[in-house]
Amino acid sequence: MSVAVNNNVENHDEHHHHKETFITKWIFSQDHKMIAKQYFVTGVLVMGVIGVLMSLLFRIQLAWPEESFSVFEIFLGDRWAPDGVMDPNIYLALVTIHGTIMVFFVLTAGLSGTFSNLLIPLQIGARDMASGFLNMVAYWLFFISSVIMVASLFVEAGPAAAGWTIYPPLSALPQTQPGSGAGMTLWLVSMAFFIASSLLGSLNYIVTVLNLRTKGMTMFRLPLTIWAFFVTAIIGVISFPVLLSAALLLIMDRSFGTSFFLSDIFVQGEVLHYQGGSPVLFEHLFWFLGHPEVYIVLLPALGITSEIIATNSRKPIFGYRAMVASILAIAFLSTIVWGHHMFVTGMNPFLGSVFTFTTLLIAIPSAVKAFNYIATLWKGNLQLNPAMLFSIGLVSTFITGGLTGIILGDSALDINVHDTYFVVAHFHLVMGISALYGLFAGVYHWFPKLYGRMMNKTLGYVHFWITAIGAYGIFFPMHFIGMAGLPRRYYTNTAFPYFDDLADINVLITVFALITGLAQLIFLYNFIHSMYFGKKSEKNPWKSNTLEWTAPVEHIHGNWPGKIPEVHRWAYDYSKPGKKQDFVPQSTPIASGENITEH
């Protein structure tokens, strides 16, 4: 297994003679397909279930505040839910860890880890990642990070509870909340491992895309999935180190008495020694990752959607070059908009104007993408598979959620909705739900590539429709709660009689959340059941053009027996005039007299 996978080796038979032991095949595997599955199981099936479960717990608390529920006792125990009543500290911890897990573990590692790993080598025509070993190390660092994050749930004073943005001084001083003790230490250690994992993974993706493309696979013949994964990896490499530096400085403040983020603090009758630091500095460092992170989550989902919408529309993706250009524009702009999270932090108002300008600029490439998706559907012959439904669903929530960004990105309007439920509704739709839809779409579409079997379509349809209705049912009314002036991260709204008439809406949201949450069990069942008992898949079940479908259904090390296919055309020759079939795989040579599609 230690043999470097080399694209120049045309006859790949030698690789099949390696003896694979249980450990090298299933645990310390260096095969990108196995690593993709490992990411999916750890990031989505395990961490995802924990993250969603937490949201259901705090939604129950929000709908029926301070009431006693045995489900709280079961999951939180006597310590955090005495007599079944949730403790305010664990409420904040649940909100914090839910955010952390969903953003980083599920939608970054789970989504990119699964699909970048599975698809980059297969779609560019490579035997494996540039470095199988680093790829394996990246996964295991992520695994360690997950274990530490889950372990932090069990420390005595509770897990980190300062919000997923862990703003100091709250996150720096254990005197200010119990979660900022050992729980926060573990959070920071876990994230350090996570960032290391993400960097190794991203570097591998970048190098692989740049160097290991098969003959004929020029950059402008890459499927949009690969463009998205490639650019995502670049954003990750640019921004994650800044979060690491913020985390390290925070660790210094917490444990070694430095004052990077702290100054003039008085807690529990005592003046602390910190002098001269500023929490605003931390906010800058955090959001320098934090905002690109939104696109690290979203771009892979958009890439997946591009591929699935084109394939299932039986039509070329509309405006391929514009799509690539908007991915690049979004990536560039994403690194200069972070300040829109900080309009009311006391930052210089002039900066507010600058960030408003760059933020609303980013809406332009986003709009181009949305319109291009719609134009791809136009005059297509839509095959409405579950993956296609989730992709269309993504475009829908991306528009609905994205549009309210016009309000939040406008510094003047942000003043009164900042840190209210309006923000929660906005980002859940535009990045949470949209990215999850991309994840689901990807799983339904590439399940045959992962396990050689098909997922059940009927269950897929049921899963989609309950989720689609639920997503709007949860997050549409939530905008109004925010516009009514209710701040986020409140353990209960009952302390303010002024918010009493929001109680009904909160119940409605929770009911939708519970139904939608439970509906994900359909997906889990479908996934696990299909893994063993699903119908066997054909080599190219969706009649797709991309290279992964030319590889055999059974996974082999090195992906293709014999030669790697050469590429002769772009990925989107669907329904090309003059062709008998409505698809022409990228590996099909240009026939005599055939025009090369201009795109």
């Binding site: 249980f22 299933w26 099936l45 999951f75 500290n89 904040l92 889950v150 069990f154 703003y167 200010t176 100054s263 603090i265 807690v267 630091g277 605003v280 529309s313 509309f318 405006g319 070059r321 009311v344 932090t345 108002p349 609303l360 809406a363 291009n372 134009a375 559907l377 297509g380 095959q383 598979n385 439904l389 269309i392 016009i406 003047a412 003043i415 009164n416 900042h418 840190d419 209210t420 098909m454 709007y472 109004f480 986020r488 991260r489 353990y491 009689p497 002024y498 009493d500 008439d501 929001l502 809406i505 893994m531 063993y532 119908k535 066997k536 898949s537 090309k576 599609t597 201009e598 795109h599």
Partner: protein, 357 residues
């Protein structure tokens, strides 16, 4: 907690079972393949129609939400800049509403209209530069207009001038309550720092520097603070421990409280508390809340507990930045009243020099 642990143990067990059974599965390779899990023409037909139905669903949710939730929204602004704010908000919402209605219609209608039929070939359209230019330029123009409007509004709100006759008020945040400090007759706040908090046996509740002559006439209040109507207020905002955010939704005002620095915000209240209580939207909201509270009280009485007190409208200062366990209950009442009533109220409060004697 043991239950959580055992759930994770079960999950890990399930994974290892999966890993092992997967090995057995290899012996099962080469079974028959079948296409029954790919969307058929019938599926396309049904799902396409459902897509159209979903468009109707989105519209209905929108209409229902606006019809039944508009009443819970904030009443008209009680500050001067708030009117501009509300106008900008309305215009932005109109843009959003129009774009949302059109794009969702196109998306779902196309999903329905072009649902797959066996044997039909899709049109081979790769791109259309003119069309793409149109939908790049139009959003760009609309957004530029919004940006310009937004920037002027923002700049008007944030770049306030320190007029002589503006009232200076310090908002002081700590876990988990608010205090307000008035500058007194000289309208200059005395210096302050957390280092002074333990002076005078803890009576120096916001850490005023007693050696600064400007500080002696300062007035610190808790629970509620008053503002004169139609007079510009400049808030100097501090925190003694963690980040908080001074959020006054009725005035369209929010600014973070940052330990180690003083942040600022300014607005001019336009409506007294008494007048706002007569606002029809507020009257309706208060009645609705009191009906809910009455119903809840009946339940409490049946259980032998104290009923809830009836609610009366007041302006609020809330904390909008996560700040620990009682973040949800960090509030202060704001009373806006005539200059005369305000002065009367302020004169009844103890000055700093009286407090430390």
């Amino acid at each position: 907690m043991t239950v959580l642990l055992s759930i994770i143990a079960v999950t890990l067990l399930a994974i290892s079972v999966w890993q092992i059974t997967k090995i057995f599965e290899i012996s099962n390779l080469g079974a028959k393949k079948d296409n029954s899990q790919i969307a058929s023409e019938k599926d396309n037909d049904l799902q396409g129609k459902l897509m159209f139905a979903f468009l109707v669903f989105i519209y209905l949710v929108t209409i229902y939400s606006f019809a039944s939730y508009t009443k819970v929204l904030l009443p008209e602004s009680a500050s001067e800049h708030g009117y501009t704010y509300d106008k900008l908000l309305l215009i932005s919402f109109l843009v959003i509403f129009i774009v949302q209605t059109i794009t969702q219609a196109l998306l779902h209608y196309f999903a329905y209209k072009y649902r797959g039929i066996n044997g039909r070939k899709a049109s081979f359209i790769t791109h259309n530069n003119k069309l793409e230019l149109v939908w790049t330029v139009i959003p760009a123009i609309v957004l530029f207009a919004l940006i310009l409007y937004g920037m002027t509004t923002w700049s008007d709100i944030m770049n306030f001038e320190e007029d002589e006759d503006a009232l200076i008020v310090e908002l002081y945040a700590q876990q988990w309550n608010w205090k307000a400090r008035y500058a007194g007759d000289d309208n200059v706040l005395g210096d302050a720092n957390v280092r002074f908090l333990n002076d005078f046996d803890g009576r120096n509740s916001v850490g005023i520097d007693a050696s600064d002559p400007n500080s002696l006439d300062d007035v610190v209040v808790t629970q509620e603070f008053h503002l004169p109507v139609d007079r510009k207020v400049i808030f100097k905002i501090r925190s003694q421990d963690v980040l908080h955010s001074a959020y006054m939704p009725h005035f369209r005002a929010q600014m973070n409280c940052v330990p180690g620095m003083i942040t600022e915000f300014s607005f001019t209240p336009t409506t007294t508390t008494a007048d706002m209580r007569l606002n029809p939207d507020v009257v309706e909201k208060v009645n609705r809340i009191n009906k809910i509270r009455y119903d809840n009280s009946q339940e409490l009485i049946a259980k032998g507990e104290e009923p809830l007190e009836p609610y009366q409208f007041d302006y609020l200062l809330l904390c909008a930045k996560i700040c620990g366990s009682s973040h949800y209950n960090m509030q202060m009442k704001i009373v806006v009243e005539s200059e005369k009533d305000f002065n009367k109220w302020l004169n009844q409060q103890k000055t700093f020099s009286e407090v430390i004697q």
